[in-house]
Amino acid sequence: MAETKERKLPPPAISEETQAYWDAAGKGKLLVRKCTSCGQAHHYPRTICPFCFSDKTEWVEASGKGTIYSYSVMRRAPVPYAIGYVTLAEGPRMLTNIVDCDFDALKCEQAVKLVFKPTDGGPPLPMFTPA
């Protein structure tokens, strides 16, 4: 099944803590939060590292490269869509949509690259498409 119609995407509920993430998304950049204490990147972004609880965390720009960890094509929806986790080259796995593709040809561990899709009145959402 190929994707035909565009879904209407709700805007993210932005908090003070993640404003920078969404500002960057508006400029076509995906940020991940990295801890300078333990050296690990995490997702979704937090000020305090969920691994070592250090507050020494910073934004780094993701390469936009990743692989599909898992996915599912939601058939029972007005416009079917693929939702899944992508393993970013930087390490963390993020929930996202796989778009602009033949849903029936998707596979786990397939290489994907970053794209952005507009939301209804908010910043665009980082999504992925086959690389």
Partner: protein
């Protein structure tokens, strides 16, 4: 402190309705409470501890305590979704063991059918302050079914699990449901019927999904000295455990559930092992839920769940591990979209020898009830109890 032998399940009740158009939510809670207390041979004035979760109307336990006219000295409204009531049994035992109450009442009720809720196929709407995860999830359209489907997809990729193997779980549940007059779906189905039912969210078909029902249930947990005075068969708690499994800051692993930890801990507390279990109540929101939990609880090796559930191995009388002999959430009942309480109920019926004769396990003296609440593919709460007929 261990809860082993410190508390007993003395009363249970499952509301017979599956569509509650003409009764209120509070009314269902109270009818279930009344049913379970009468089953135990107790009255509401004996109740000194009350347990409920987010399905109860009002702020925590307060509205229902008032509605039912209870006077309680211990309350607990911990909400881990559908697993809450399995967790509450453990918490009730802890409260009883530490002297905080002697008769604990746990209730569940809901009316998702009567209220026309789009339970599994529409992202749950936001309410109040968004959770920190919300902006990174909600806009992408996670639903109950598509996130469990993500777990199934990865399980298939890593371990070669097939849709036919998953279908056997539904087939087994349907074999049991045919004997339950209250079951929503009473027809026995075949593997072919499951895999040929409409695809909802790959790889989960319509018949991989549980039913949506109104109704509820209640459980009464009591101190040993109370249980000794009652006339019902004695069902003793041997072990309990709970765990919250998350996305771990992005180190997402969909191949296992929190049951990996709750099973090990509950079995250790009980001093028994999976192979000792004569009967298993396993949360069955979807077929994949059952398969993963069976692996994680230690009934088979990780990745071998598909082979374990195939060929009728979960069917009472023919298989090695009779499961969900009331028909489970897949066929019988999943009241309020929360199936943990009914898992405990059927385990108690089996231990009492009060399951339907066609599905009653012979000499059923040890059983497990396990629940998963929330979303297996996002974050979930797991809870396990091990029960023994005394």
């Amino acid at each position: 402190m261990s809860i082993k032998g410190k508390a007993y399940i003395a009363g249970i009740y499952e509301h017979p309705t599956r569509l509650a158009k003409d009764i209120s939510l509070a009314q269902i809670h109270a009818q279930c409470a009344k049913g379970a207390l009468e089953d135990a041979g107790l009255t509401k004035d004996d109740v000194d501890g009350y347990f409920c979760a987010g399905d109860a109307p009002g702020l925590g336990p307060m509205s229902m305590v008032e509605y039912m006219g209870l006077k309680v000295r211990h309350v607990d409204s911990t909400d881990t979704g559908g697993s809450s009531y399995v967790l509450h049994v453990g918490h009730a035992a802890e409260a009883i063991a530490s002297g905080k109450c002697k008769v604990a009442l746990i209730t569940l009720a809901g009316r998702p059918r009567a209220e026309g809720m789009a339970t599994g196929t529409v992202p749950r709407s936001r309410g109040g302050t968004p959770t920190p995860d919300d902006p990174f999830e909600f806009p992408y359209g996670p639903t109950v079914v598509n996130m469990y489907a993500n777990c199934a997809m990865r399980h298939m990729y890593e371990f070669g699990t097939t849709s036919e193997q998953l279908a056997w779980i539904k087939v087994a549940a349907s074999h049991h449901a045919q004997y339950n007059p209250h079951a929503l779906l009473k027809d026995v189905v075949t593997v072919e019927e499951v895999v040929n039912s409409p695809m909802i969210s790959d790889p989960l078909h319509r018949l991989d999904c549980c039913v949506i029902t109104d109704g509820g249930g209640a459980i009464v947990v009591v101190a040993p000295e109370i249980a000794a005075k009652l006339k019902r068969p004695k069902v003793k708690l041997l072990g309990s455990s709970e765990f919250i499994k998350t996305q771990m800051g992005g180190k997402v692993d969909l191949t296992y559930s929190g049951a990996r930890f709750t099973g090990a801990a509950a079995f250790a507390e009980a001093g028994v092992k999976p192979s000792d279990m004569k009967y298993a109540s396993i949360y069955d929101s979807f077929t994949i839920t059952v398969l993963m939990q069976l692996e994680d609880l230690g009934f088979c090796e990780k990745g071998k769940g598909g082979a374990f559930v195939a060929d009728g191995n979960l069917i009472s009388g023919t298989g090695k591990l009779p499961f969900n002999t009331d028909g489970g959430g897949l066929c019988n009942n999943h009241p309020a979209n929360r199936g943990g309480l009914t898992k405990v109920l059927e385990a108690v019926r089996q231990l009492r020898g009060e399951a339907h004769p066609k599905v009653q396990v012979k000499n059923c003296d040890l059983a497990i009830a396990h629940g998963t609440g929330g979303s297996l593919g996002l974050r979930h709460g797991s809870a396990t109890v091990i029960l023994e007929r005394e």
